[in-house]
């Protein structure tokens, strides 16, 4: 570069120019060839926006096709976030203030009863929901028109009488409802900015408002810019608290659920509703509708430019789920349950020695022994799933779930029928008797002389009031010579003490858990796999279990662990009569007795009868009976067992339920069963009864467990009688007179009943039978 000649120097500039162009070309190559896929993706995300419209959930119906859960339209106030933010500061405040005032007033009027939440009726499941687009007005008008013509749509009757629901778990009149808090500009603004709501969709600020408010808002668009009253679909539980634990409820999807349930055919949005418990959860994939989708191409300001029509998907309603439950039977069960609990409340007598009877809970299961269909399933206390519609308020949720307040609400959300684990008491003797037979420890015809006392040692001094070496029958009864049938009928404890102790003494020959192995065949100590979450396994204690359990809880103290963890004849005897560490759920008890009733087949308890396409008979899935296990049950074992259970309810046999069944005409439909009373320290006895009917060709098996309600015959037996007497009257079948429909009178919508009236329907004779 020594020359100063301009002409010689332009080569340098030429080279510079060339390299700059080369650099540009290289970069162009990099962007358009090497990394073009990344940018292609970015461009696609840049230019399209999906608008998702929800599809109605499928319905839930009972075995006869009675709709239990449908969808209803409600009026929701929404604010279009994007349009709203385009308003200037002053008018934003003005709109919110005005709206807050109207909402508060509407709320007050509804509270007073001057206005009612509008219920435009159930939506036909095949009907598509409004597209949440800019044409909302037109659709709203159509919906309004449809409401007028649709007078016969399901309208819930004014609640008369007492609820079974959370509003009134104790039958003490409607739950006190406090006056709603005023809605302010700030609450609305918070709601608008709530990150749970996608800003691309209108943000819902109030649900279940009255039609008057809807009309008021629609007539004054100039006062309420960006505010829309639209009709949305929510869940409607027609029978209120009835069957609540089986039906479950829906709620906003969580991140974890989003991960678990997300799928391409029925995709979820992060503000979707999802089944939380019960069938709503268990059959979520069926009930879930297919959301509609409209894909728009948008410009840089997110304004839709055109629709990409080939990506459009119309919303489709979810499938209908038919349950095996008969809602009318369920009504009988829940009514009987509430009535018996009220009847026992405040009493101090049989089994309620410790304090005044105050049963905190109960569980009832009714099964069809032939196939395992669940005909009714109830848990007390219960709650109204309608509370969860539109999002349960924090106050309401705490009232039924606050762990600090279990004493007050007794955990209505828990399904005691499958999750309540109770010592089964004498109802366990079915399984003990079978185990004794199968382990070759007893013969049906063996006669045992029940003197009311069983001595674990020959030299035991029975004059000592409290001793470890002998055990007495409950109620200090003496039953005299008994065979197996008689031992069951009168509930001889000493017969079974002998079995338990002697099986333990012969452990070297037959194994130390010989009886327990036979018991487990009946499905005890394990979950069944029913379509509900939260099922408890129960427990059949064995020497091994006891040792491990003791080591676990007495880890600090090896000596105590050794002492408390050592099995002996007394523990064995106690186990055989269903006390101590034995635990079973009402479902397991019902299923076990169903098995003995049907000849030894343990079925998987079934809640779902069939799944069909929305509002049509077109079957998607029909459920066939599923066998969990077969219990070898030859006639020479089964007949004495059945005979023993049959005697329990018959007059003149000394049966433990005979008195309570006085006046029950069993000629057409004989009932077999077994009572139980389980004891726990420092509380009243728990009352149990498991029954099946008719004795020799059973069509129903029922178990009832009423916590801390006294002897089996005090609460559980009358409860079961309240169910079985109408059942027997209806011909001892679940099907109606002409073979279809329900055998029972229809349950009222809302599931309401008056506890006083229900109590008056049946008053059992005073009973004295301990078992």
């Amino acid at each position: 570069m020594s020359t100063t000649n301009p002409r010689a120097r332009h080569h340098v500039l030429g080279i510079v120019a060339l390299s700059l162009f080369a650099a540009l070309f290289t970069r162009l190559w990099y962007l358009q060839v090497l990394t073009t896929d990344d940018y292609e993706l970015a461009a696609r995300n840049n230019r399209t926006r999906e608008v998702i419209s929800d599809a109605p959930r499928g319905r839930i119906l009972d075995r006869n096709g009675t709709p239990l859960v449908e969808n209803r339209r409600t009026i929701q106030i929404t604010i279009s976030y994007q349009d709203f933010t385009a308003l200037d500061e002053a008018s934003q405040g003005e709109v919110l203030r005005r709206l807050a005032r109207e909402l508060t007033e509407d709320q007050l009027l509804r509270h007073e009863g001057t206005r009612v939440e509008n219920d435009p009726g159930a939506v036909a499941p095949e009907g598509a929901v409004d597209e949440e687009g800019d044409d909302g007005g037109a659709v709203d008008d159509e919906a309004a028109g449809a409401t007028g013509d649709d007078e016969d749509a399901a309208v819930r009757p004014t609640p008369a009488g007492v609820a079974t629901g959370a509003r009134n778990p104790d039958g003490q009149g409607p739950m006190r409802r406090e006056a709603p808090e005023a809605i302010t500009e700030d609450t609305l603004r918070e709601r608008l900015e709530d990150p749970r709501f996608e800003k691309f969709k209108p943000v819902p600020v109030a649900t279940d408002v009255s039609e008057q408010l809807e009309v008021y808002l629609r007539e004054r668009p100039e006062l309420f810019p960006t505010v829309t009253a639209e009709r949305v679909t929510v869940r409607d539980y027609h029978y209120g608290a009835l069957l609540a634990h089986v039906l479950g409820y829906v709620g906003s999807i969580t991140d974890t659920e989003l991960d678990e349930f997300q799928n391409p055919s029925k995709p979820y949005e992060n503000d979707d509703q999802i089944g939380k418990t019960g069938i709503e959860r268990g059959l979520e994939p069926e009930l879930r509708g297919t959301p509609g989708r409209v894909v728009y191409e948008v410009d840089a300001r997110n304004r839709p430019v055109r629709e990409i029509t080939d990506q459009r998907r119309e919303p489709r309603a979810g499938n209908d789920v038919y349950l095996t439950v008969d809602i009318n039977l369920q009504y009988l069960v829940e009514k009987g349950l509430a009535a018996e609990i009220e009847r026992r409340r405040g009493v101090i007598d049989d089994g309620c020695w410790y304090e005044e009877c105050d049963p905190p809970g109960a569980g009832v299961v009714a099964l069809d022994p032939d196939g395992g269909e669940v005909l009714a399933m109830a848990s007390y206390p219960t709650y109204d799933p309608n509370l969860f519609v539109g999002g349960i308020t924090t106050r309401d949720y705490e009232a039924i779930s606050d762990p600090e307040e279990v004493e007050a609400h007794h955990d209505p959300l828990s399904n005691r029928a499958i999750a309540g684990q109770y010592p089964p008491g004498s109802t366990f003797k079915l399984f003990s008797a079978y185990a004794g037979l199968a382990a070759d420890q007893i013969e049906p015809s063996d006669i045992y002389d029940d003197t009311g006392i069983y001595r674990f040692r020959e030299d035991c001094d029975t004059s000592v009031e409290v001793s470890n070496c002998y055990k007495r029958n409950a109620g200090r009864k003496e039953h005299g010579p008994v065979d197996l049938s008689r031992a069951l009928t009168v509930s001889s404890d000493t017969y079974f003490y002998k079995l338990g102790n002697e099986a333990w003494l012969r452990r070297d020959a037959i194994g130390d858990a010989a009886l327990q192995e036979q018991m487990e065949l009946w499905g005890l100590g394990q979950t069944s796999g029913i379509d509900l979450r939260g099922e408890a396994p129960g427990r059949v204690p064995t020497p091994t279990w006891l040792r491990e359990f003791s080591e676990e809880i007495n880890a600090e103290n090896p000596d105590l662990a050794e002492e408390a963890g050592t099995w002996n004849g007394g523990i064995s005897a106690n186990t055989v009569i269903g006390q101590g560490d034995v635990l079973a759920t009402p479902l397991q008890l019902a299923n076990g007795y169903a098995a003995v009733a049907n000849g030894g087949t343990v079925y998987l308890p079934q809640l779902v009868l069939q799944v069909t396409k929305p509002a049509s008979a077109s079957m998607v899935d029909a459920f066939a009976p599923e066998v969990i296990s077969e219990v070898p049950l030859p006639a020479e074992w089964r007949d004495p067992l059945i005979a023993g259970f049959d005697g329990v309810t018959k007059p003149g046999t000394g049966g433990t339920a005979a008195t309570t069944f006085t006046g029950f005409d069993q000629s057409a439909c004989p009932v077999a069963g077994k009572t139980g009373t389980s004891q726990a320290t420092d509380q009243n006895d728990t009352s149990l009864f498991v029954a099946f009917a008719p004795t020799h060709a059973p069509t129903i098996a029922v178990s009832a467990v009423v916590e801390q309600a006294g002897f089996g015959s005090s609460a559980a037996v009358p409860l079961v009688r309240r169910v079985l007497e109408p059942f027997a009257a209806g011909g001892c079948t679940i099907a109606g007179p002409d073979g279809t429909g329900s055998a029972f009178p229809p349950a009222p919508l809302g599931g309401w009943f008056d506890v006083e009236v229900a109590m008056a329907e049946f008053t059992p004779e005073v009973v004295e039978v301990a078992d």
């Binding site: 301009p6 120019a17 410009d299």
Partner: protein
């Protein structure tokens, strides 16, 4: 090749016509390339401004067509008048432009923080565009007086000639034009025959100066942001981030990158059609080419530019005198740097500064200026034998 083939070996006396008649020496290749590129430019302006749906908006492309006609006329005038005569009037052009630059600071219109426009009826005049040509003419006028013999005092004079418009443009502030003017000045210094060691020293000085400027408070916040955003090449992580300084660059890269080899097709680029790239019809017109015509179209465009640059370079070599060479070198620097800067910024290898892509971007002043620059080169080319 040229529409009128001319061989320098042909004996001049054998020609029937005046062999030095300028019409025989028009650079046809260059003219063809110019017309092709500017037509493509109009097409892309239309694509970027027609809107996503019918009825399409043809307002912008109509105006751009008008600018092209005006530009062609201006180029014709500039090409016909002997460049020596033009150079003789360079002081007036230079002085006049300096006056306009001063005036625009006082009475000009402001657009996105830069005060650089005169409102003339419905059109805007951007004097900084013309300052680039004025700079070339003024510099050449002075430098040719020195006949390649440049001592430090003369170097100072030349630097002063370059610095005046640069400072005035920076005051608007129009960083892009200032940077281009620096490139032009440097290139003209090379062409004028400034000693190598001075050039190296000045290069180092410029780097030092730029560093100081970037780190001092002299630049507006947005300018520094735009200058430095290209150094961070990661994708924006969130919508919010995308909305800030990196938004332009990101959308621009998405448009070009998603074009791939063959492009989305004319009028069919979603980024272009939906207006995702800001300033797409002006400074970011290259993204429309990249997205809709792909590597094929963008590389062809760069190829056409290369041909034009080659023809300018060739004219510089063939020019009859130092003045012609320097004019061409100035225009060459103007073009090369402006193309590199503009295309480079759309692809994220140069900072984002508001300068147009010659013959492609929508804009009256820039289009007419580009044609005038080409007119000067054609002028030199036509008169290389006289």
């Amino acid at each position: 090749m040229a529409t009128v083939p001319v061989s320098r070996r042909r004996p001049l006396t054998s020609l029937r016509h005046d062999p030095s008649a300028i019409w025989h020496h028009i650079d046809g290749v260059m003219v063809a390339c110019l017309l092709t590129v500017s037509s493509l430019g109009a097409l892309m302006v239309y694509s970027a401004t027609r809107g996503p749906e019918e009825p399409f908006n043809a307002e912008w492309v109509t105006r751009q067509g008008l600018f092209m006609v005006l530009g062609l006329l201006a180029a014709g005038v500039v090409a016909v008048v002997d460049y020596h005569k033009i150079l003789d009037r360079a002081p007036i052009v230079y002085g006049g432009t300096a006056f306009l630059l001063l005036a625009v600071l006082l009475v000009g219109q402001s657009r996105s923080g830069t005060q650089g426009w005169f409102q003339l009826g419905q059109f805007q005049l951007q004097p900084s565009e013309f300052a680039k040509v004025a700079l070339i003419l003024g510099f050449t006028y002075v430098a040719t007086q020195f006949h390649g013999d440049i001592d430090l005092r003369r170097l100072g004079v030349l630097l002063g000639v370059g610095a005046l418009p640069i400072v005035l443009v920076l005051l608007q502030p129009d960083l892009g034009t200032a940077l281009v003017s620096v490139a032009i000045t440097f290139s003209l210094l090379v062409a004028a025959g400034v000693r190598g060691r001075y050039l190296v020293l000045m290069g180092l000085g410029a780097v030092l100066f730029a560093t100081l400027v970037l780190n001092s408070g002299m630049l507006e916040g947005y300018q520094r942001e735009r200058l430095t955003v290209f150094t961070s090449q990661e994708r924006p992580r969130s919508q919010e981030e995308a909305r800030d300084a990196a938004w332009n660059l990101e959308q621009s890269k998405i448009a070009i990158g998603s074009g791939g080899v063959t492009g989305k097709g004319l009028f069919n680029g979603p980024q272009t059609r939906l207006g995702n790239v800001p300033e797409q019809h002006t400074d970011f017109i290259f993204t429309a080419v990249g997205e809709e015509l792909g590597l094929t179209g963008a590389a062809t465009l760069l190829g056409l530019y290369s041909v034009i640059v080659w023809r300018i370079w060739r004219t510089a070599k063939l020019a009859r005198d130092d003045a012609g060479t320097m004019i061409c070198m100035g225009v060459l620097a103007l073009f090369v740097f402006q193309i590199f800067q503009n295309v480079g910024m759309t692809m994220g290898i140069m900072p984002i500064t508001g300068i147009p892509l010659p013959f492609m971007s929508y804009g009256g002043s820039s289009t007419i200026m580009a044609f005038i620059g080409m007119g000067l080169v054609l002028n030199v080319h036509m008169r290389r034998f006289r």
